[in-house]
Symmetry: C3
Subunit: 429 residues, 3 copies
């Protein structure tokens, strides 16, 4: 995943244009079934309109001495996203309103966009801006904003059931690592993981699209299908650093997918921070919108807005995002998928407790003062009532789902319980 | 309100008699639609019987030197409420069982009544009683207890719907300010407020009656109508001092009217004290009685029983009850009425988030690090699912109802949401 | 109860054999209607098989000097329960694997059994074992393990309704006091108590059986009846010491029987320790097993596993179990029975508050500053809505059920309320 992220780093991603196209084509090499779609500028989608397509050739700024101040060849963040083209000379005073920097983070180039209002501009480190000499600056911003296309992709991995799990990420952020090369990279790995499963209970739908407008377009084009089939969703974002685990729950706050997520994070991470719905800021805003209503969670490492390098050039591969960070980000959602695939409703086959000793599951000499694993086996068994799910048993006993599932597999192997798959409510075959 | 209270101070209120009549007639000057009713002594109402009518001409006590000790012309509290008439001479030892004072509050005249057992008596400051010389006292209590009437009043302010909100207060307390001139005065102001509303969703029924027996009589005479129509009630009592806000919730403790009250008090007062049902002591005892079951709350300033001057002559206009205190008492219930009138169920008109920027509701330059009011607008919008009410959104977001309503009006004005009135369950047109 | 325990002390109880038979015959003297049943070794019951019957004649161990080390005539615990017979000479090294002691409790003989794997052995104090000299030991274990019977007993005390309350205890523990002579002794006392009631709402089923295998057999033989009729159960164990009160709740944790138990223990004991379902270790494991599903609680004094003398010879009558301890253990479940028998659903007969004063239930001089018992009477009355039970009123008001019931009896005597019996859900006549 880390190598893929390094490879994708250079593409000048935005909400439209060749940066998105190149990124999706590279992912299609890994995931040949990925379908790349395009939608015309000007198309009405929900309350929005697909904007013109923006492409960057190069943007540069020279100081009065002819020295380069900003050059997108060195960092894509140097140009305001969706900047208008501009070539000419301006003196420093005229230039200033077109410059963006962060006084409180003097070494960071900020990430600034202006999708829906035309303007040109550069972003740069505040310590550089502070030392700019008076005089005449040369500006050369070569961008094109024109009737074109918005590009996105999806990949459907079919399961036994028509019920779908949506896994969404976004491909519109240029050179930043945690927010957001980590999302597409981890989502790709999850797609490979799901494809490699020997069997799948559910159908998985992966969406790689620009944030907000891409999700809105996707919902607009697929609303009937999504509302009929999708039972839950994962938004994959900020999954690459190794400093924290975070959960953004559903609007409901206690949907089954929230319970799954909390069980995973509690036992994967020990500690994790749970945010409130009001702190949402990604595509759950669209997928969980009222009347769309897909229950969606984000299992993140350090959440957007909450880490110091957020939306600046300091959000780097290596310093912020690490191979371990990406692996943990992958694990969190991977385990949720495993729970959805393996959660069951167990029913006892014995009336009264099973006799563990004749199956070699209990020390035959009953001193009775200490009992650990047999007691736990019977704790799990005591809830095998044909109603309670393995996940619910895990939550009741303060155990990881996987610990409960392991014990249930022992009980099943010894013909003590029968397991039925636990599906979503309103599941359909 | 403060001036009205001063004017009503002098009438010798009790549960029957001219004190009540004069008080209600004065209120009818302000509220000409107020209907004054009378019911005969001896009428059976529920488990009770309307008592004889009691009227006080004057009650006086002279010490052995001929000096006045008690005179109802100086303070109505000097006579035991419903005292029998008595004229004669008694020595101090005989007099003592007829005197009532509070050793722990030596300057206060206590408020004592004996509605259902005939006795005569005086109330006086303990410091005065302590210095009474031995000798012969002259008593002249001129009262009449005779077959007569119990007087009460009501006022119905019709709304669009037949659903009623009951607002009840009591008019049986003589010269005391917070408990209870504040109630009738604030209830009158609420009646004027409701009458002046350009339109009303609900019908408002105001009842001014003596406490307990009056409420019981009112329920007895109107039970079918009350049970069919009244959805919620406010008991207006102890609403005049400026030292606290208090809530007595419904017996259910989590009826919609409790949620309305808590939202109001939390945002009006910051802090308020919530009492338990077991600490009730006013006419919710009748209106919320089992099988009557009107959900009723009291939004009070300092609750009866809980302030030091309670039921004594120290409960004065000016020292205890202030114009600001009355205004706050009015505001609390007024805001509850406003919530009932304006609560709505919003439904989004857009699929996916609305585009705020093209409506001028969002800064077009999205640096994304800080977002305050647009985020709050979208927080509210994210719950506009056609099920959740504005009040429920406010509670979920920790906001005042009025803050949410303001944002919903913006969203409605921009055609982003549609609002349906939120009614009570089982509402009827 | 203490005398009965002393009398039963000597019988060499195990899960089968004459020790159980003698114990049950002695109880039948007290409870002539007790039915003693037997079931053949080898019978399949649930997942289990009735084991061979085990009887102990005597077991002795002599040291190389001919001195007695262990003799079951002095303490039944000296032999491993279900020990195979063995006569012969072994040297100390060979003997050691057959000895059981507790290094951390050097004066205690541990209680060890080996029901389902044949082995022979002795249990002894660690301080004795430590000083055993090298040399040849003589072993004489006279036991018989043969095709025979498992013995248990039940007693049904019929009530007005077919609904049953199960009271279960176990009779398989040899010479130990709290765990478990206290259970059979207290259960017998409860049976006498229930038989002596002038009328019974419910039918009471008492079961005296060996733990685990006895309960499993009982369920196997009576499953249809138990599942159709039994509404709740009490497991009587560890009810003899005077150091604590403990509750093991149902698996559900909030069944009505849990509420009954908590109300009793809170007001009987002030403090009690509530354990979790995962800390269960007695016959609720069978009766509350999934698909059997009888809601069962244990109201204990010091819980099994939790007191230092547990499962050793230190668990003695007199030091651990006391007459006061047994009395408290009896009281706890006795009061639960009383609640089940007397819980009611009250409905007010008055519309609006009842007039207490004309019934002598209220001081007629209403100074209004202090009201205690009349207020409590009205608090209880205020919930008499024909839906809420006396127990629910008690829980809501933080009162003991018996306090509420006393007030309800006053209200009923004064024709203020009507009481309907509160039954279990799905009750059948």
């Amino acid at each position: 995943m880390f190598d893929l992220a390094k490879e994708l780093w250079k593409y000048p991603r935005s909400i439209t244009g060749d940066g998105v196209r190149l990124t999706l084509r590279r992912l299609k090499v890994l995931l040949p079934e990925l379908q790349i779609h395009e939608i015309d500028s000007g198309t009405k989608v929900g309350d929005w309109t697909i904007p013109k397509e923006w492409n960057l050739t190069r943007a540069r700024l020279w100081d009065p001495t002819g020295q380069i101040v900003c050059d997108t060849n060195s960092n894509n963040l140097h140009v305001v996203g969706y900047s208008s083209p501009f070539t000419g000379e301006v003196d420093l005073e005229e230039l200033q309103p077109h410059l963006h920097s962060l006084p409180e983070m003097p070494t960071a180039i900020p990430y600034v966009t202006s999708y829906y209002e035309p303007r040109w501009g550069f972003c740069l480190a505040h310590e550089v801006r502070d030392k700019l000499p008076r005089g005449t600056y040369r500006v050369d911003i070569e961008t094109r904003l024109s009737q074109g296309l918005l590009t996105y992709a999806d990949l459907v991995v079919p399961g036994t059931m028509a019920d779908e799990v949506l896994i969404s990420t976004y491909v519109c952020h240029p050179a930043m690592a945690n927010n957001e090369l980590s999302g597409p990279v981890v989502a790709s790995e999850l797609a490979s993981y799901v494809q490699a499963l020997p069997e799948r209970r559910f159908t998985y739908r992966f969406v790689f699209a620009p944030e907000t407008i891409g999700a809105i377009a996707y919902i607009h084009l697929n609303r009937g299908h999504l509302q009929q089939r999708v039972r839950a969703g994962f938004n994959i974002t900020c999954v690459g650093d190794d400093r924290a685990y975070s959960l953004l729950p559903t609007r409901n706050t206690n949907h089954r997918i929230d319970q799954v997520s909390r069980n995973v994070l509690r036992h994967l991470a020990g500690e994790f921070r749970e945010y409130s719905w009001e702190e949402r800021g990604s595509d759950e805003r669209q997928y969980s919108a009222p009347l769309v209503d897909i229950p969606m969670v984000s299992l993140m490492r350090s959440k957007y807005w909450e880490f110091p390098e957020y939306h600046t050039s300091l959000d780097q591969l290596g310093t912020v995002v690490t191979p371990e960070g990406l692996q943990g980000g992958f694990e969190a959602t991977r385990r949720c998928i495993d729970i959805l695939e393996h959660d069951s409703i167990p029913t006892t086959l014995t009336i009264g407790e099973p006799m563990l000793s004749r199956r070699g599951l209990y020390a035959s000499l009953g001193a009775g003062r200490f009992s650990t694993s047999p007691q736990q086996l019977l704790d799990v068994w005591s809830f095998c009532d044909g109603v309670t799910s393995a996940l619910e048993i895990a939550e009741r006993l303060g155990m990881s789902f996987f610990g409960v599932d392991e014990l249930l597999q022992i009980l099943r192997a010894h013909k003590i319980v029968h397991l039925e798959p636990k599906l979503f409510e309103n599941s359909s075959h």
